[in-house]
C-alpha cells in the first residue's frame, strides 16, 4: 500500500486483496453477525445544512463510525409507523414482503455480491433485512411465533445494518430480471431509504445535490450565469475543433423543444464531450430548441432518497416546458433520469396536456410511444435521424477507437432502450464489439456507483461493485483490443472511468453523442484533425 493513500482513493486497494472473494457464506448466521462499518465502506451522512434546506426530519451532525447515531428518541415508533404507511401506499412493497420463497435465483446476480461475497449483498438477504422486521411486526405468524417464523426485533443495530446495506444497492434491478416473481430490490431499497430518512439517516452525496437541485435547478449547484459561461465555453471549443460556431439558446421562450440533460455533463470530463456533442448535433440539424437554467437537471437524486423529493425535483421540467411554451421535451443521455422520466414523471407531475405529441422537426417522425409524457430520449431521436439519412457521418473519424457499449441499468431494465443507442453507435464507429451476452442488455451489470453511491469515501464498495462490469470490459479489451466504452449515462461516465482504470486499464469512457459528434460532418466545417477530446484523429500524423 502506497504511503499517503487514503481509503477513498482506488490506489489504496490492492488487486490481490480485493479479489480474495469467497462466495461461501460464513458459519455465523447473519441475524447475529455484526455489521462492520469501516472507512471505504460507507457514505458520509447528510450534513444538517442540506437536510434542513429540504425540510428533511431530524437533521444533525453524526458519524456512522460512532457508537451513538443520535437517533430521535422515538425512532422505533417512527420506523414502524413509516413501514405501516408505506405498506398501505405501495402494493409492490406488500407483495414483495410476502411472496419471496428464498429460491436464491437472485443471490449471485448482484454486482455487490459478486465483488464482495458478503452474504448480506445477496438481493434475497438484502430484502430479508427489512422482511424480517415486517414478519415480526406485521404478520400473524411473526407476531405469534417471532423468530420461529423468521421475525427479528427492530434494534439500533438493525438501523445500522440497513444503512450499510441499503447503501450498497444501486437500485439497478438486475436481480429482479431473474426473480420468478419479479420482486424488485430497487423498490425495497427505496422503501428502506425512505424509512432511514425519517429518522434522519441519509447520505450527503444524495442530499446535498438534491438540495442544490431544489435551489439552483441542478445537482452541481451551477447558477444560471455559470451555466451560460460553461455552454459558451463548449461552443468556443467546438469552434476551435470544427470551425463552426454553434448557437447556445438558453431560456428561450417559444422554442419548439426543451432540452434537459444531467448537469454532470456540464462539469466533469468525459461527460463534457458528450455535452459538446449535443450542441454540435443540434446546430447541425438546425433544431429550434432551448436549454433551461431553471430545469437544468435531468438526473434526479430524489429517486435515491424519497418519492416526494423525486416529485419535487422532477416537477421543474414540466413547469419550465409550460413557462417557455415549448411543444415537447428532449432528454439527454442519463440512466436514472430516464427511470424517472419513463416511469414516474407523467404520474407525478403530469398530465402534460399542454405539450404536443413529439414529432421530429427534421424527419417528421411522430414519437407516439411518448405521446403522453411528451419526452423523447436523445438516442431515439438521433437513431431516427440516422435511419432517415439526415446526418452526414464520417465513421472513419472514430477508427482509432475500438468501442464496446455498456447498457445502463435504468434504460435497459426500466425502459428497454437497447437497440436505439446501438443503431447510432454502429453508424458512427466501425469497430464495435459487444461484451459477453450475460453482461449486457437486460442482464447488464451496474457500474457500482449508481443510486447515490458514486462518492469517493465508499471507494471499496464502488470498486467491488464495479468489478463484474470491469472484468467484462477487460474481457473485450483483451479479446478485441477495445479501448473505448460507450455509455448513455452521466453517472456511468464518471464511475466507469474509475472502474475501467482499476479493472481494465486502457479503456476510456465516452458518451454516445461524443462519438456522434466526432463522426458528424458539419456544414462549413474546416478539415477535422482532432476529435472532441483534442486528441489527433490520426495518431501517426
Amino acid at each position: 500500500m502506497a504511503v499517503n493513500v487514503k481509503p477513498d482513493q482506488p490506489e489504496y486497494y490492492n488487486h490481490e486483496q480485493l479479489t480474495q472473494i469467497d462466495y461461501r457464506p460464513p458459519a455465523q448466521a447473519w441475524e447475529s453477525r455484526p455489521v462492520t462499518i469501516r472507512p471505504g465502506s460507507f457514505l458520509h451522512p447528510a450534513k444538517p445544512k442540506g437536510a434542513s434546506s429540504l425540510g428533511l426530519p431530524h437533521p444533525r451532525q453524526w458519524s456512522p463510525m460512532d457508537e451513538d447515531w443520535k437517533l430521535p428518541a422515538d425512532w422505533k415508533e417512527i420506523i414502524i409507523t413509516g413501514m405501516k404507511e408505506r405498506l398501505e401506499k405501495y402494493r409492490s412493497f406488500k407483495i414483495f414482503m410476502d411472496t419471496c420463497v428464498r429460491c436464491g435465483a437472485c443471490a449471485d446476480k448482484c454486482h455487490f455480491f459478486i465483488g464482495s461475497g458478503d452474504p448480506r449483498n445477496m438481493p434475497v438477504l438484502r430484502a430479508e433485512l427489512l422482511r424480517s422486521i415486517y414478519r415480526n411486526d406485521f404478520t400473524l405468524t411473526g407476531r405469534l411465533l417471532g423468530t420461529l417464523a423468521g421475525g427479528r426485533e427492530l434494534t439500533v443495530d438493525v438501523i445500522k445494518e440497513w444503512f450499510a446495506y441499503f447503501y450498497q444497492c444501486t437500485e439497478c434491478r438486475r436481480c429482479s430480471v431473474f426473480c420468478p416473481f419479479g420482486i424488485d430490490t430497487a423498490e425495497i431499497t427505496m422503501m428502506a431509504r425512505e424509512l432511514l430518512q425519517l429518522v434522519g439517516v441519509s447520505v450527503n452525496w444524495i442530499i446535498e445535490p438534491a438540495a442544490n437541485c431544489d435551489r439552483t435547478g441542478n445537482h452541481l449547484g451551477i447558477q444560471p450565469h455559470g451555466m451560460k459561461d460553461t455552454l459558451e465555453f463548449f461552443a468556443d471549443e467546438i469552434e476551435e475543433l470544427t470551425g463552426v460556431r454553434v448557437n447556445v439558446p438558453i431560456n428561450k421562450k417559444g422554442a419548439e423543444i426543451l432540452f434537459v440533460t444531467p448537469s454532470g455533463d456540464l462539469l466533469a470530463d468525459p461527460g463534457t464531450y458528450t455535452c459538446m456533442g449535443y450542441l454540435a448535433l443540434f446546430h447541425e440539424i438546425g433544431l429550434n430548441y432551448t436549454w433551461s437554467t431553471y430545469a437544468s437537471e435531468g438526473g434526479n437524486f430524489g429517486l435515491f432518497s424519497s418519492a416526494d423529493l423525486m416529485k419535487r425535483l422532477n416537477a421543474k421540467i414540466f413547469a419550465e416546458a409550460r413557462r417557455l411554451g415549448v411543444r415537447w421535451i428532449l432528454g439527454g443521455e442519463c440512466g436514472h433520469m430516464w427511470r424517472v422520466v419513463h416511469q414516474y414523471m407523467d404520474t407525478m407531475n403530469g398530465p402534460a396536456d399542454f405539450l404536443d405529441v413529439p414529432v421530429s422537426p427534421v424527419t417528421g417522425t411522430r414519437f407516439s410511444h411518448a405521446r403522453s409524457t411528451k419526452m423523447v430520449h436523445i438516442a431515439e431521436f438521433t437513431a431516427d435521424l440516422v435511419k432517415n439519412g439526415r446526418l452526414t457521418l464520417d465513421a472513419s473519424r472514430n477508427d482509432r477507437l475500438r468501442v464496446t457499449f455498456h447498457d445502463s441499468c435504468n434504460p435497459a431494465r426500466a425502459m428497454g432502450l437497447i437497440e436505439e443507442p446501438r443503431a447510432v453507435l454502429k453508424s458512427v464507429c466501425r469497430n464495435f464489439f459487444e461484451m459477453p451476452e450475460e453482461t449486457i442488455r437486460e442482464k447488464t451489470l451496474c457500474c457500482g456507483g449508481g443510486a447515490g453511491l458514486g462518492a469517493g469515501e465508499n471507494m471499496e464498495v464502488r470498486l467491488r461493485g464495479g468489478m463484474a462490469r470491469g472484468l467484462a470490459v477487460k474481457h473485450v479489451r483483451d479479446a478485441h483490443g477495445v479501448n473505448r466504452l460507450a455509455t448513455i449515462c452521466a453517472i456511468d461516465r464518471v464511475t466507469l472511468t474509475t472502474v475501467c482504470d482499476y479493472w481494465a486499464p486502457g479503456v476510456k469512457v465516452a458518451g454516445l453523442h461524443e462519438l456522434v459528434a466526432n463522426a458528424l460532418v458539419m456544414k462549413g466545417q474546416k478539415k477535422r484533425t482532432h476529435d472532441f477530446r483534442h486528441e489527433p484523429l490520426d495518431p501517426e500524423s
Binding site: 402494493r91 449471485d108 434491478r173 430480471v177 416529485k311
Partner: protein
C-alpha cells in the same frame, strides 16, 4: 352427523377449519394487497422497448399492451420463464468471472409444481360423482408407463423427486442454506409428508378406495358420515393436507397469487404513452421559477439571459 370421536376430529373438524383458514386467509391476504394501490408504473423490462417502427420490440419480455403483459405473467406462471434465464456466477483466479446457464432450479420447480397440479386434479375422482371424463383422461396419461400395480403415476414420481431435489438443492448450496429459514423447510417437509402418505395409501395400505370416496363425498356434500374400512393412514394424509391448506395463506406459499399481482410483471411498458395515475399523488412544495428568478435575476440580466420580471 354420526361420526365417532377421533374420526370426527381428524376427518371433519380439522379439515373444515383448514378450508376456512385457506379461503379466508387467501382472500384476506389478496384483498389486503389490493387495498394498497400501485402508485407508480414500474415494470421490469427485458429486451427492446417499442419505440421506432423499424426497431423490433420484444413483445414477450417488454410488452407494451395490457394483453402483452398478461401473456408475460401467464408465461411466468405456467413456464417459469424468468428462471430459464438463470445463470451461475463463478469466480476464478485472474480474476475471471463466468456466468454459466443454470437451469436446475427451473427444472426442479417445473417438476414439482406441474406434478402437484396434476395430482390435485387427479384427486377430483374422489370429489366428483360421476368422475368427469377429462379427469379419467388425465389419469390415463399419468399412468402411461404402466409400471407397478397399482400403476405408479408419473406425477407421483415427479412430485416426490422434484420436492426432494428442491430440498437437496437448498441443503447442499452453502448460500441457500444461509438464507433459508424455517418457513422454507416446513412446507417442503409438509409436502413430502403428504406425498409419502398418499403414496403409501395407494400402494401399500390395501385401502378401500370406494369407502374413501364415500367419506370424501360426505364432506363435499357438507354432510359428513362415518364410513367403515378407512385406514388410519388416510387420516394422517388428510391431516397433513389440512395443515398445508391452513398454513398456505400465512406463508410464502402465497407466491401463487402474488406473482399475478406483482406490478413489475403485470404492467405493460407503456408509461410514456399512457399516463398512470397515482391515487395518493401528494402535493409537494416546488421551488418555483419565480422564486428562482428572484434569487438570480441580477446575475441573469448581467449574463444576458432573458428574465420574466425586470
Amino acid at each position: 352427523m354420526d361420526v365417532p370421536g377421533l374420526c370426527l376430529f381428524f376427518g371433519v373438524i380439522v379439515p373444515s377449519l383448514a378450508v376456512v383458514s385457506f379461503f379466508g386467509g387467501f382472500a384476506w391476504k389478496a384483498i389486503g394487497w389490493a387495498r394498497s394501490p400501485v402508485p407508480f408504473h414500474i415494470p421490469i423490462t427485458c429486451g427492446q422497448q417499442r419505440s421506432l417502427p423499424w426497431i423490433r420490440s420484444n413483445r414477450l419480455d417488454n410488452p407494451h399492451t395490457p394483453m402483452g403483459a398478461a401473456l408475460r405473467v401467464a408465461l411466468a406462471v405456467l413456464l417459469f420463464r424468468p428462471l430459464l434465464r438463470n445463470t451461475m456466477t463463478e469466480i476464478y483466479a485472474g480474476p475471471k468471472l463466468t456466468y454459466a446457464p443454470s437451469r436446475w432450479l427451473w427444472l426442479f420447480a417445473v417438476m414439482f409444481h406441474w406434478s402437484m397440479l396434476v395430482i390435485v386434479l387427479r384427486h377430483l375422482r374422489l370429489f366428483v360423482e360421476p368422475v368427469p371424463a377429462w379427469v379419467l383422461t388425465l389419469q390415463r396419461f399419468d399412468r402411461f408407463f404402466e409400471v407397478g400395480h397399482p400403476v405408479i403415476h408419473a406425477s407421483t414420481v415427479l412430485f416426490v423427486l422434484g420436492l426432494g431435489l428442491l430440498l437437496l438443492r437448498r441443503l447442499s448450496s452453502p448460500q441457500l442454506r444461509y438464507i433459508s429459514i424455517l418457513n422454507d423447510y416446513f412446507p417442503l417437509f409438509l409436502l413430502l409428508g403428504i406425498g409419502a402418505t398418499g403414496t403409501l395409501l395407494r400402494h401399500y395400505s390395501n385401502s378401500d378406495a370406494a369407502a374413501i370416496k364415500e367419506f370424501v363425498m360426505g364432506l363435499v356434500t357438507l354432510s359428513p358420515l362415518a364410513v367403515s374400512g378407512i385406514p388410519a393412514l388416510f387420516y394422517v394424509h388428510l391431516f397433513l393436507v389440512s395443515v398445508l391448506l391452513a398454513y398456505f395463506p400465512w406463508s410464502k406459499l402465497m407466491h401463487m397469487p402474488g406473482v399475478l399481482m406483482s406490478p413489475t410483471l403485470n404492467l405493460a411498458n407503456n408509461s410514456r404513452a399512457v399516463r398512470h395515475v397515482n391515487p395518493w399523488n401528494p402535493p409537494v412544495g416546488v421551488h418555483s421559477y419565480a422564486e428562482y428568478e428572484d434569487e438570480f435575476r441580477g446575475r441573469m440580466i448581467e449574463a444576458g439571459l432573458p428574465v420574466d420580471k425586470l
